[in-house]
């Protein structure tokens, strides 16, 4: 078998055409295996042409087109799932850390705006509404996303129960976020108490699941260090958010300075714990995959 495929026009044309079609594969796959696939296709062309001439080439093209479509879809799907799992973990945990950092100013301002020390409550509204977007995005998207990342990262170490808890927190947070938007659109003016309950329950659910997850991390110790951090973050937030929600539902504004101070302090502790927990998760993942 010493023929040069490039000397047979129909084969040379087929190889050039196949080379052009390789663009349908993901860039990385194309880069890693494109030249080998082209070489292999050239070998197949030579064999098909020798065995059955032009008919053999037609049959080969039919098989090759089917293979191209099927494998290109598989490679694109694979690129989006298995290949990007470590990236997804890193991305989602970063999202959680950025989210909690962005949410903190809104929470502090919202608490201060409700106090009697505020000279002009209405003056806060523009800033609060702007920063409030971060709160909603954090509660509905970033925190649930972070929990899915934690589930991917620690799922095998905390068992079915741990995976279920994190998934429930993520789905609960996202689901109640959707309800929040529904409430905003259709009935905010009618019943502000319902608005508070939905919003705060939506924010609380992921933290409750973080609290339960924290109990499991204390038991199984899947983190390289700081196994008490999820529990710390999870414990403080439900306590204050829920309390604030209930009081706000009764009085609209909570004016007790001690409660305000305690809430802000609690939320800062929770945020720091969550950021530190996220940082350790990132470091653990980077150590496992050998990349940062």
């Amino acid at each position: 078998m010493k023929d040069d495929p490039s000397e047979i026009p129909v084969i040379a044309l087929s190889v050039r055409l196949y080379q052009a079609l390789l663009i349908v594969y993901p860039a990385r796959f194309h880069e890693d295996y494109g030249s080998q696939m082209l070489q292999l296709f050239g070998d197949c062309c030579l064999r098909a042409f020798r065995q059955d001439g032009i008919n053999g080439m037609i049959k080969l093209w039919v098989v090759t087109i089917l293979d191209l479509v099927r494998s290109a879809i598989a490679e694109h799907l694979h690129k989006e799932t298995v290949m990007t799992k470590p990236k997804f973990i890193r991305f989602s945990v970063w999202a959680m850390m950025v989210g909690v950092t962005a949410y903190l100013p809104w929470f502090i301002l919202a608490m201060l705006a409700g106090t009697r020390f505020d000279p002009d409550v209405n003056g806060w509204w523009y800033i609060l509404n702007t920063l409030g977007v971060f709160g909603v995005v954090y509660g509905c998207i970033l925190l649930p996303l972070g929990m899915l990342g934690l589930r991917e990262r620690y799922g095998s170490q905390v068992g079915v129960l741990g995976r279920g808890i994190l998934m429930a927190g993520a789905l609960g947070g996202a689901g109640l976020g959707i309800l929040f938007f529904y409430q905003m659109k259709f009935s905010l003016g009618d019943d502000i108490y319902r608005y508070y309950v939905i919003t705060l329950t939506g924010l609380t659910l992921p933290f409750v699941s973080l609290l339960l997850f924290g109990m499991l991390t204390l038991r199984y110790k899947p983190l390289s260090r700081g196994n008490g951090l999820p529990l710390t973050a999870g414990l403080i937030a439900p306590m204050f958010i829920k309390l604030y929600g209930l009081l706000a539902g009764i009085r609209y504004f909570v004016e007790d300075p001690f409660f305000i101070f305690l809430s802000i302090l609690g939320f800062i502790v929770m945020s720091v714990a969550l950021i530190q927990f996220g940082y350790i998760s990132q470091a653990d993942e980077a150590r496992l995959t050998g990349a940062m």
Binding site: K2, Q36, M37, Q39, C44, D67, L68, S71, A74, H78
Partner: protein, 125 residues
């Protein structure tokens, strides 16, 4: 370094493509075209892998450490082009053995239920 499943059982059951590639490499290293020809021969043409399926499978098998690249050299029986060769890893060989044992046990069950014709009723112990 990719996260690798080191427990052979976690890889089972294998897809037909992966099983046939491992089987093709069981008696030594081969390049892509060599694997393709061997699979066609072993399966009497029932499993025909195009370049996309073959290299997609090879990529995933490399990621989970079932096979490894050996080196790149020309095949003296073909042309002067340099080709990349692949071979089984120790994990790949264990996975192949376990999958084969799994299939044999399935055949035993089929035989006990008298599913097989007399042509396939040889000793499998």
């Amino acid at each position: 370094m990719n996260a690798v499943l080191q427990n052979p059982e976690e890889h089972l059951p294998l897809t037909p493509a992966v099983f046939n590639i491992l089987l093709a490499l069981a008696d030594g290293e081969k390049h892509g075209y060599g694997i393709m020809l061997e699979v066609e021969t072993n399966t009497q043409g029932q499993v025909v892998m195009g370049p996309g399926t073959l290299y997609g499978s090879i990529k995933r098998m490399l990621q989970v450490d079932l096979i490894e690249e050996s080196d790149e050299h020309a095949d003296p029986q073909m042309d002067d082009q340099r080709r990349r060769y692949y071979r089984l890893t120790a994990l790949g060989r264990r996975v192949l053995r376990m999958e084969t044992e799994r299939l044999v046990s399935q055949v035993r069950i089929a035989r006990s239920k008298k599913v097989l014709s007399t042509e396939f009723s040889g000793d499998m112990s």
